[in-house]
């Protein structure tokens, strides 16, 4: 066990996965991840790996499309404006079924400009055909990266995989991390062997365009691959628990059944779990559900976890302006007809602190029926005025 910062736990784990091509562009608070990788490269610690400094996130993602199609294991990290700038290429990468792995150091989106954490950036990529997992701690991020490659590169899946970690809250936090051994990762993660690749030995055409008579089937095939990823991920999570001795649970990780269940993702999970435990000790029928996988959405697992519940609270870290927030929508669609009241509580946008008291009072309000189901913003009172 070593006390390291989040960005280091990422870079260290990426190195152990023996990537062939790393390419990124700096953006706060992801920058330190690629800086650490650049250092490793400069010191000859990355083997044959090529480390490329792109001219933009758009370029970085594009370089990885070329590299991944050529048969390379690839890595990038970004967030916020960078992720959005990549988005055209990432949609394209998933459509080409390229198993690029990226870490997103979750950060809010402009405007107004903010370098602080929420989940708006990755949520904007919700429909892109990218697997999304949210980590609670730097150990979980560290452990997730080899698993991400194993899932993404599985021939039943072949989709990009985004490991989401909260910017600053995790990326810059000092936490004790049990850094993995190379042998463990080597034993767990086989070399990347793509079913097809760009090679002059077998000259295939990548990135064909599709006419209306087949476009739809390609997109449905991606949906099927996402569906298959659920099972593949379950197996990979389990195998990881065995080889590493750390069991992070499945797509969700939950406690016992209770009348009121509370859902949170990412670094907020620890605090919410803690508050829930305290309330349980006080005799309240409340339970915590950590949502680890957001895409593919674990609807079945949630339904099971929510059997017997009458209320569910979703702590949201992003918005879908003009509708309900994204996690809420998915939770609602998963549990429809189960007769559960949904309380969608938006907290901590743009790095706003989420104090323990706020979490506790929010849950208590629901337990004591002092608020109605629906959407609740934990924002200050405000009035818009023309300057």
């Amino acid at each position: 066990m070593k006390v390291v910062r989040g960005f280091y736990s990422v870079a260290y784990s990426v190195r152990l996965c023996r990537p062939d091509v790393i390419c990124a562009y700096p953006i706060t608070p992801q920058t330190e991840i690629v800086e650490r990788l650049a250092e490793m490269y400069a010191n000859g610690e990355l083997g044959n790996c090529e480390y490329v400094t792109a001219e933009s996130e758009f370029g970085a993602a594009s370089i990885l499309v070329g590299a991944s199609a050529t048969g390379a294991r690839t890595f990038t990290a970004t967030c916020s404006q960078g992720l959005i700038l990549m988005s055209e290429v990432l949609w394209n990468a998933s459509g080409m079924r390229l198993p690029i792995v990226l870490v997103n150091a979750n950060r809010s989106l402009s405007a107004p400009l903010s370098i602080w954490n929420d989940h708006q950036d990755s949520m904007a990529m919700r429909d892109a055909g990218i697997i999304q997992v949210y980590a609670e701690s730097n150990q979980e991020v560290h452990d997730m990266i080899p698993q991400a490659y194993k899932v993404a590169e599985d021939r039943r899946v072949m989709l990009p995989f985004m490991v989401c970690m909260d910017g600053y809250k995790l990326t810059h936090a000092y936490e004790p991390v049990d850094l993995l051994d190379q042998e463990i990762v080597d034993g767990f993660l086989p070399a990347y062997d793509p079913p097809v690749k760009l090679t002059t030995k077998k000259p295939l055409t990548f990135g064909s365009y599709a006419t209306p008579d087949c476009y739809m089937e390609f997109r449905v095939a991606m949906h099927d691959a996402m569906d298959r990823a659920r099972k593949v991920m379950d197996n990979v999570f389990q195998e990881w628990a065995e080889v590493s001795g750390r069991d992070w649970g499945g797509h969700i990780s939950n406690g016992e059944e209770a009348e009121t269940c509370v859902i949170a993702m990412g670094s907020l999970a620890g605090l919410v779990r803690n508050v829930v435990e305290e309330l349980r000790k006080e005799g309240k029928s409340v339970s915590f559900i950590k949502l680890r996988t957001f895409r593919p959405f674990p609807a079945e697992e949630l339904r099971k976890a929510l059997t017997g519940a009458s209320k569910v609270i979703v702590f949201e870290r992003s918005l879908s302006l003009g509708s309900e927030p994204p996690v809420t929508l998915d939770v609602k669609s998963a549990i429809q007809k189960m007769g559960i009241d949904v309380y969608s509580v938006v907290v901590g946008l743009g790095g706003r602190d989420v104090p323990r008291e706020l979490v506790k009072s929010t849950i208590q309000e629901v337990l004591e029926d002092r608020v109605k189901p629906g959407l609740h913003f934990k924002a200050k009172q405000f009035e818009e005025v023309i300057p």
Partner: protein, 105 residues
């Protein structure tokens, strides 16, 4: 039931299935006697449907030389006329396809 590849990866040169020979209103006719086998038309043809083929031998003093002439693969020729304008020997004439002649009456 249709078969699709992951990521819409295509096999090479399947365009050969697409016979573009019916696109054009005109088609090139090569006068073999005029053709000097220079290969200009082959180099220019945007549809890669002209080839130089061997059409016999020619005595040039002591040596024998292969005579080559241009041959059009009408399965793909779009009748663009490029070959006819680049031919230095004026050996290629464009002619209207029979089906279009009727319409002109």
């Amino acid at each position: 039931m249709i078969r699709i590849t992951p990521g819409a990866v295509s096999k090479p040169l399947e365009s050969l299935k697409v016979k573009t020979g019916d696109w054009g209103a005109e088609y090139p006719v090569i006068e073999e006697e005029k053709c000097i086998g220079c290969g200009e038309c082959e180099i220019f043809c945007p549809d890669l449907c002209i080839e130089l083929i061997e059409a016999g031998m020619e005595k040039k003093g002591e040596k024998e030389k292969i005579i080559r002439v241009a041959k059009v693969n009408y399965e793909y020729c779009k009748g663009c006329g490029t070959c006819s304008v680049v031919c230095p020997a004026e050996a290629i004439k464009m002619e209207l396809k029979d089906i279009y002649r009727g319409e002109l009456k």
